[in-house]
């Protein structure tokens, strides 16, 4: 593969500590809430306390009188200068409701913004918010998708006549294959609604300079350039006078890849009022008003031959659109359908998708977006199949794996897998857990009344989206390409600008490693900058596990160009042909003639002086590059989870967790492992404890960390992570994505392990989260406990 050379400084593949960490760990990071501007105003919101209601009246008079309050707004007052939010991506037949920044006479989920207050102080705004009185006429609400599709269900949007947002079939015919299959398993599986809970909530500071119309926005976002384009388009602002800065960002997980109403309003108000406006989301607001994740339900049908060869897979997917789907909300089930056949050769596959409106917060991308759901359904279904056929679940996986020589492999749902070696990950994982010994132990303990379970998940997903001309308008995603700029200053130090927008992924380190490796200089001599539309011409941000494979490839291309230019300049300086010069360890030289050399720093200095350049060469060692992948890359791996279930209390206890993941070339294995650790923790969180619960009136009951548990360090076993490196042919780095591997592998591995532990009791499936009581209940029903 690839023409990547390894520099003598060996940066690619080195376990470098993250250069951003000292800043972040010592409190020297700059987050949006650290931005203080003179004269800054504070924005706050009144939010709906009802899941569905008509607004009879809003009384803002008391709030307006509070000292320090500058203005109070309802839908009516912002009508003239704040447009509607962009609707969902235009899928065929999709019904898109109007999405107002402030509710327009009707609220449709708890947490929907109803009124806004602007005040001199943050606490004044909060007090004033409490002084606003909203008169609601409550209406019946529906938060459950199955209920929402019943004929007599309350309607989220009356004008549509039903809660069906869209229907879409994908894939080929499965009926005949299912008919002919020896066995068919069917299971309803819930991929429950979760809350992203980024460590830093959302936040914005917007500043408008009246003298020249310059607008500067500091935003906790994953995609500053996309947000800039959206803001410019929606608010009719000149894009070149709009600057969006993503300073240090405390996590996104997909939930900060979108433009929200609060943010658009803050920008509009900064302009309207002529003073900077700040809004910082509270945790409770985050749980209500930032997009949620997953919220899918699937009826899974899998047909196979007696020997375990899979013939057909069918998913009937209900995808929750919330009340007001965001741009990417309807794309989640399409992603699920695209990768639904996973790492397996499944000739017939079909997804019947229904998008459903409910009186809830809209789901949107969440680490694993659509693809983690697919892996969950399939990996669970394979275990069900193995159980039915009394086959080893490992064997069933093996038997159906797409083999390395079968790539590129076109799935029935239209995804072309470029390459892979699924067997290698599975084998390494089995070796690592010592599957033979483990199974013996399992048998022994079972006879003592202790229940160990071993769960497997072999996954593949798609990462680093290409530009998608054939997909219907995906709103603001302009393309799958990424850009990089690299410039060498006169002292030989390097600045890399990237259009990705890292927010915890360690890209300041790994992108620097790529540049340092190519130029063969020290890592300390490279600085990576990102997240400012004023210094970085364009980019597509960080999401969908794209930044290293796509953004890193752009850095590599820019570094290559600079390297060639440096070599040409060195050759000119040394008076030889380019081919005779080597660039290594911070200097250019003539092999065999150590005295005929020039340091990289001197070369850089030389490049700034026009007189010393060869004919036709422009000054300065610098280059820009764009990399466009022509397909998604396909990260894959196998996770093995070992649990012991306390059958008396239902508590699953994690004994071991082995993850063998392949992200192609691992530029920094330490960072890759960190991504796996975080992702596995997050995935186990979904599998074990996270869930959004609504009561019958549509009130969310899980709106603080008191009621919504996420795992802590003490819930995690020691993770045993190993990487295999099967290079991707899709980019010059040979890299695949990795950010979503953990959340994709962990839920099925954990649930499969618990279900395996409970096999003696005839338990075949359990829906997440596997709270102790849920596990206890099936045992109770099976008569295993009193």
């Amino acid at each position: 593969m690839t023409g990547t050379k390894r520099g003598s400084t060996g940066q690619i593949g080195a376990r470098r500590k993250r250069v951003e960490d000292p800043r972040l760990l010592t409190g020297q990071g700059t987050f949006v809430d650290d931005i203080q501007l003179p004269g800054m105003l504070h924005l706050d919101f009144v939010r709906s306390t009802h899941a569905q209601a008509r607004i009879a009246a809003i009384d803002t008079s008391e709030a307006a009188k509070c000292p320090g309050v500058v203005a109070v707004y309802t839908a009516e007052e912002i009508h003239g200068f704040v447009p509607l939010l962009p609707g969902p991506a235009e899928l065929p037949g999709l019904r898109a409701p109007e999405h107002h920044v402030l509710a327009n006479g009707h609220v449709r989920y708890v947490g929907e913004a109803v009124a806004a207050v602007v005040a001199e102080e943050r606490y004044t705004a909060r007090d004033a918010r409490e002084a606003i009185r909203v008169d609601y006429e409550p209406l019946p609400a529906v938060t459950d998708m199955e209920r929402a599709l019943e004929a007599d269900a309350p309607l989220v949007h009356e004008e549509f006549g039903s809660n069906l947002a869209f229907e879409l079939p994908l894939g080929n015919e499965t009926a005949a294959a299912l008919e002919e299959a020896d066995v068919v398993i069917q299971q309803r599986m819930l991929n429950q609604r979760v809350i992203p809970n980024t460590m830093e909530t959302r936040g914005i500071v917007a500043d408008y300079r009246r003298s020249d119309g310059q607008i500067t926005v500091w935003l906790s976002t994953q995609a500053p350039h996309l947000i800039r384009s959206l803001l410019a388009e929606l608010l009719d602002l000149p894009e070149h006078r709009l600057r969006v800065i993503a300073p240090d960002v405390g996590g996104g997980f997909g939930a900060k890849a979108n433009l929200y109403g609060e943010e658009m309003l803050a920008v509009a108000l900064a302009k309207q009022l002529g003073r900077p406006v700040k809004w910082i989301e509270e945790r409770q607001e985050h749980m209500l008003a930032t997009s949620h994740g997953r919220a899918q339900l699937a009826h899974v049908t899998l047909g196979a031959a007696r020997d375990g060869t899979i013939r057909a897979l069918e998913l009937r997917i209900l995808a929750d659109m919330g009340a007001y789907p965001h741009i990417m909300t309807p794309l989640a089930p399409l992603q699920t359908a695209a990768v639904m056949t996973g790492c397996y050769r499944i000739p017939c596959a079909r997804a019947e998708i229904q998008g459903v409106f409910t009186n809830t917060t809209a789901p949107d991308p969440y680490r694993g977006f659509g693809r983690a759901e697919a892996a969950y359904y399939l990996e669970r279904a394979i275990d069900l199949l193995a159980r039915r056929l009394d086959l080893d679940p490992i064997e069933v996986r093996r038997r159906n794996f797409i083999q390395p020589e079968e790539f590129p492999y076109s799935s029935p749902t239209g995804y072309v897998l470029e390459s892979g070696d699924y067997e290698v990950c599975l084998r390494r994982a089995l070796e690592k857990v010592d599957i033979g010994a483990l199974r013996q132990q399992q048998g022994r303990l079972r006879s003592e009344g202790r229940y160990i379970g071993i769960g497997f998940a072999s996954y593949v997903y798609r990462a680093g989206f290409p530009s998608l001309p054939k997909l219907p308008r995906t709103g603001f995603l302009k393309g799958g390409w990424e850009s990089a700029w690299l410039r060498v200053d006169p002292m030989g130090k390097v600045t890399v600008l990237t259009g990705t927008s890292p927010h915890g992924q360690g890209l300041e380190t790994s992108l620097a490693q790529i540049a340092a490796d190519e130029l063969d200089i020290d890592l300390e001599d490279v600085v990576v900058r990102h997240g400012d539309t004023a210094s970085i011409p364009h980019g597509n941000g960080t999401m969908g596990s794209r930044s290293l494979a796509v953004g890193g490839s752009a850095v590599l291309l820019a570094a290559r160009e600079v390297r060639h230019k440096a070599l040409r300049l060195a050759a000119h300086h040394l008076g030889v042909e380019v081919d005779a010069v080597r660039l290594e360890a911070g200097r250019a030289f003539l092999p065999g003639h150590p005295e005929r050399a020039i340091s990289f720093a001197d070369l850089a200095d030389l490049s700034y002086s026009f007189l010393d350049l060869p004919d036709g060469m422009t000054p300065r060692l610098e280059a820009s590059a764009t990399f466009e992948p022509h397909n998604w890359n396909a990260p894959f791996g196998t996770h093995v989870c070992v649990v012991e279930v306390d059958v008396q209390t239902g508590e699953p206890k994690l004994l071991r967790y082995v993850a063998v993941d392949d992200c192609g070339r691992a530029v920094n294995p330490l960072i890759v492992e960190g991504q796996i650790h975080g992702g596995v923790a997050q995935g186990l969180g979904q599998a074990l404890m996270e869930t959004v619960v609504y009561d019958s009136e549509g009130q969310p009951l899980t709106v603080s960390f008191l009621e919504y548990a996420t795992p802590t360090a003490s819930d995690m076993p020691t993770l045993e992570v190993e990487l295999t490196e099967t290079p991707s042919p899709l980019n010059p780095l040979g890299a695949r994505g990795v950010g979503e591997s953990g959340t994709t592998g962990a839920p099925p591995a954990l649930v499969n392990a618990v279900v395996d532990a409970l096999a003696p009791f005839g338990v075949e499936h359990l829906d997440m989260p596997l709270l102790p009581e849920r596990v206890w209940r099936v045992l109770h029903e099976a008569g295993a406990v009193r």
């Binding site: 209390t649 404890m689 802590t712 819930d715 109770h780």
Partner: protein
């Protein structure tokens, strides 16, 4: 909204005077319950009386009779005290479960008890140790058994102007020991779905001479389960005795269904934990 007043008295008398002055006055110990309630609008005090500047409430003294511990001593100090840990391992186990390291730097026994949550972890453990509290108020001081102090969720014997000054835990008898267990979905920073404390005293033959069992999160307050305790007395903790104790514990539980667990689950698990905590207490007592 935050209360408009904050006072930090340095002796008990001054605290009583402040607490008596306004009906909306509330003692503030670690604040790990109170500040959360404040934010949720569940508490609306107009005066905070900080207890952490009062030396008597911050004092620890241990002698042959037992432990006297100020009501505002942070949990971290209790958990890190090796002598307390070796004498009352169950009580310390329960204390160590409260929140996280950060929470334990602030949280107190006084707050855990006076907050009067049925799920408070330290309370069943205190009950089985036979602990008492000293209350001080405008009418003087009085001593109350822990199990008599809480009268319902959020309700206690505290009268206006009164506060808990200190805990008195009698020294464990020879060949006796305690244990505490709970079930939560998350291993820390979570609220008990069920909690059980057991204390056993053995005779020279290794039979249970006396026992105490207390249950958390299965009734409006932490409750003693005397029938369960009696089922263990006279036994060497054989399966039959344990089963009887488990059934008795389930029977004496009167839990409700809530988001954290159904009554059926709690009734079942409270029996399981009773057995397990009894086994641990038994082993510890044997080792003494």
């Amino acid at each position: 909204m935050a209360p408009s007043h904050f006072e930090a008295p340095t002796d008990v008398e001054a605290a009583i005077a402040l607490l008596s002055r306004r009906p909306g006055a509330r003692p503030l110990a670690g604040g790990t319950d109170l500040l959360v309630q404040l934010r949720l609008g569940a508490a609306t005090p107009d005066l905070f009386v900080d207890l952490k500047r009062i030396p008597r409430l911050m004092a620890t003294s241990l002698d042959s009779k037992g432990l006297t511990l100020g009501a505002a001593v942070p949990a971290a100090e209790i958990v890190e005290n090796a002598s307390i840990r070796s004498l009352w391992p169950g009580l310390v186990e329960a204390t160590a479960l409260i929140g996280s390291s950060q929470i334990q730097g602030r949280a107190t026994w006084g707050g855990n008890l006076c907050n009067a949550s049925p799920a408070a972890d330290a309370v069943p453990a205190m009950i089985v140790c036979g602990a008492k509290i000293v209350l001080a108020g405008p009418g003087g001081e009085r001593e109350v058994l822990i199990e008599d102090f809480t009268t319902g969720p959020g309700e206690t014997l505290l009268e206006r102007g009164e506060l808990v000054v200190e805990f008195r835990v009698p020294a464990p008898a020879p060949r006796s020991a305690d244990a505490y267990l709970r079930v939560t979905p998350r291993s820390e920073m979570d609220i008990a779905v069920v909690g059980v404390g057991v204390q056993l005293e053995l005779d020279r033959e290794g039979r249970v001479a006396s026992a105490r069992v207390a249950l958390g999160a299965v009734a409006p307050t932490a409750v003693r389960a005397d029938a369960a305790a009696e089922a263990l007395v006279g036994s060497r903790l054989d399966d039959a005795a344990l089963d009887r104790a488990a059934v008795a514990a389930s029977t004496s539980a009167s839990p409700i269904d809530d988001r954290r667990g159904t009554a059926a689950y709690r009734k079942s698990v409270v029996g399981v934990l009773t057995k397990r905590a009894a086994r641990i207490a038994y082993e510890r007592a044997q080792a003494r």
